[in-house]
Symmetry: C2
Subunit: 367 residues, 2 copies
Amino acid sequence: MASAPLSDRHRDVLAAVIVNYVVTGQPVGSRTVSRNSRDGLSPATIRNTMSDLEEMGYLYQPHTSAGRVPTDLGYRYYVDRLMSERPLSRREIRHIRAALPAEEEAPDVDDLLNRTVKLLAGLSSHVGVVLAPRFRHAVLKRLEFLSLPEGRVLVIFVSQTGMVDHRVVSPRERLSDTELSAMTNLVNESFQDLTLPQIRVRVVQLMSEEKALYDRLLARALDLSSRYLAQRADDEDEVLVDGASNVLGEPDFADVARMKALFRAFEDKSRLVDLLNACLAEDRSRILIGSECPDPGFSDLTLITSPYRYRQQPVGALGVIGPRRMDYDRLVTLVDSLSRFLSEALASRTRGAGEETAAVAAEEDDA
Amino acid sequence: MASAPLSDRHRDVLAAVIVNYVVTGQPVGSRTVSRNSRDGLSPATIRNTMSDLEEMGYLYQPHTSAGRVPTDLGYRYYVDRLMSERPLSRREIRHIRAALPAEEEAPDVDDLLNRTVKLLAGLSSHVGVVLAPRFRHAVLKRLEFLSLPEGRVLVIFVSQTGMVDHRVVSPRERLSDTELSAMTNLVNESFQDLTLPQIRVRVVQLMSEEKALYDRLLARALDLSSRYLAQRADDEDEVLVDGASNVLGEPDFADVARMKALFRAFEDKSRLVDLLNACLAEDRSRILIGSECPDPGFSDLTLITSPYRYRQQPVGALGVIGPRRMDYDRLVTLVDSLSRFLSEALASRTRGAGEETAAVAAEEDDA
DNA sequence: CATTGGCACTCGCCGGGGGAGAGTGCCAAA
DNA sequence: TTTGGCACTCTCCCCCGGCGAGTGCCAATG
C-alpha cells in the first residue's frame, strides 16, 4: 500500500517535515510546513498531503492532533532520493587533515585509527566507531618466538605494514632460547610474504610433508605456529568506540532503560563487529535506519557506515551511530570523507612498497 | 566542631542509618532505626542522637522533616571504624578462580587484566577499572628492529614477562634489513636485563662514549632506541574500564547532566590513570569518598582501589567506582580479593624465573 | 538525668481539575 | 484543486489540597 509513486508535492512536504523534525525534535505541524514552503500553500493543503504520506507509511502521528514525525520508511525515502549531501566546511577539512596527515611522518596504524574514531565522535556529536583492519589481510613481515618463564613461548606476528599481534602459547616440550631463535628463522623462510589464511594452509601442508622428512626443529616450529593460529581467530576484529557520552545529551534517549540497552550494546563489541563487517562486505557506504538494522538492540538507532580501503581492498569500516533523528545530509558526507581520508593516510604510509600488492591480490580467493 | 568522640549509641545509630540508606536509597527516619535497633530505643531517643550526629557533620537532612542521609564524613567514619568486611561467598570465589586460574596454563597478561576488569564490573554491579602494569617495571627480554615501507622502522619491546609494546619510528637515514638485524643483536647485548628507565640512562651513557669509539652501527642503533624511548613515555599507562552501563541503572545518577560528566570522565582515561596511580603510590587499598577525591569530576562518586603486586612490587592498581551509596562491606572485600587473586595469577605465570628479581629490586632507586 | 510519649508543624509526593495551545479532520465555498 | 472556517482532541502545565513521613520540642516518667 505504500507503493504509489510520490508526487513532487509529497516529496517537498516529506523533506520539509524531516528537515524540520531533525532540527527541532518536535512533531511538525501543517502550519510550520506551510510557512517554510516557498510556493505558499495553505496549512489545509499541507494537511491533506501529510495525511496521504501517513497513509503511505512515510509519516506517523505520535497521537491524534500532534504534528507528524518521520517513520523509518520516511527517512529511507529521504536518504535515497531527497537528500542533498552537504559538503564539509573548510574548517572541518583542515581539522581532519591535521589529525590524519596524508603525506609527512605518519603515526602507526593504531594511532591513526584512534584519531579517526575521535574525529568521528567529535565532528558528529554522536558515537564514532571504527573497525580495525583485519589481520586476515595482513602479510607476514616476521614471526618471532621468544621464551617466557614456565616454558611458555611468546609468539609475535608482525605484518609488512607494521601491525603487531602477539599471543602466549604453551608448547608440548621445553624449548631453549637457541632452539627458539633457530625456529624463528625456519618459519620466516617458510612463511615469507604470506597472509594469515595462507599461513594456515601452509602449516597443514608442511606438517604432512614433515612426517616424511624428519626435521625435528621444523616440526616443533610448526607446532608452535599452529598453536598460535589456533588462538588467533581470523574473525577476531578490534573495534574502537568513542563519544558514547554524546548519546546522553540527546533527548531521543531520555528513557533510561533504552539508554542502558544501548550502552550494553556498545560494551559487548562483537555486535558492533558484526554490523561493521556487514558493511565491509558490501564494499560501499551504507545507512541503516532503525528497524532496518538486523540487530534488534539497535532498533531505534541509525548507523551510517563506510568501508575504508588499503590498496583498493576494503580492510575495515568506520561509521557513526546516533538516534534516527540525525542530520543525514551532513553525516553521510562526514563518514564518507573520513573513510576517504583514512584510506589516503593508510596508503601514504606505505607508498613504494609494491611487493605487497601481489600478495594481497593473490589471496582474494578466500571467502 | 566535629571532633567530640562518638558514644557507642552514636556509632550504632550512624551505622544503622548507613546500612539502611545503602539498601533502600531513601533518607532514614528515627522510626526505622528504632525498629532495627536491638536494644529497643524509642524513636524520640534516636531523634536526639541523630540530631547530635547531624550537628557533628556525620549526617544531614535533604530538607526539614525528611529522614537523614550520611555525609561523606559519615561514610568515612563508617569505613574506618564501624564496617565489618563481609567475606565473599563460595560461589563468588569459585567464579573468580575459574576466570583467573592460579596454577595451570595461564593466558597472557592482557587477557588476565581483561578478565579482571570484567569480574570487577560483574561482581560489583558498578564500574570496574584496572590500571595495567607499568612498563617502567618491565625488564627487557628482547628489543627488535624491523623495516617497514617508506624507510620507517618498527620497534618492538618485549618484557621478560611477555608484555609487548611497539612503536613506529623514522630514522634519519635508510637502513637495510641486514643492518637492522645486526643492530637488533647489538642492542640486545647492551640492554640485557634492564628496565625501561635503566635503558634510558644506558642509551645516553653509550651515546656519549660513542663519540670516542666509532661504531657507526651502534650509533645508529642507539639513535633508533632513543627515538623509540621518546615515544614511549614512562607514565603512559593503560587503563581498562568495564561496566559503565551499570551506572545508568543507579537512581543516584538519575540526573542526566551528572551522568554525562561521569561518562566524559571515563572517556578521557588520563584522569583515571592519575587516580589509580595515586593509589599505587600509597601501596595499600584505599577508599575515596565523594569530595575526598582530588578530581572534582568524581565528587559524587566513591572509588575503592587496591594495588596489585608482582614480585612484592606494586605494579598496577584496580578498583571499583560507584555512587557514594554503595555496599562498602562487600566491595572492599571484593577489591582486596581481586587484587590478591590477580597478584597470584601474575606470580604463578612466572614462577621459577628467578633472574628477574634482582633486576627489579635494583631499579628501586628511581622515583 | 536519660528516656519516652504526645503533639503541632513542615515538607515532599501524588492525583485531580482546568485552561491554554497546537494540531487535526472535515466541510463547504471559491 | 485549494482554501478558510470550525469543532474537536489531546498534551502540557500549573495550581491546589490531602496524605504521609518525619521532625523538634516539651512535659512526664522511671
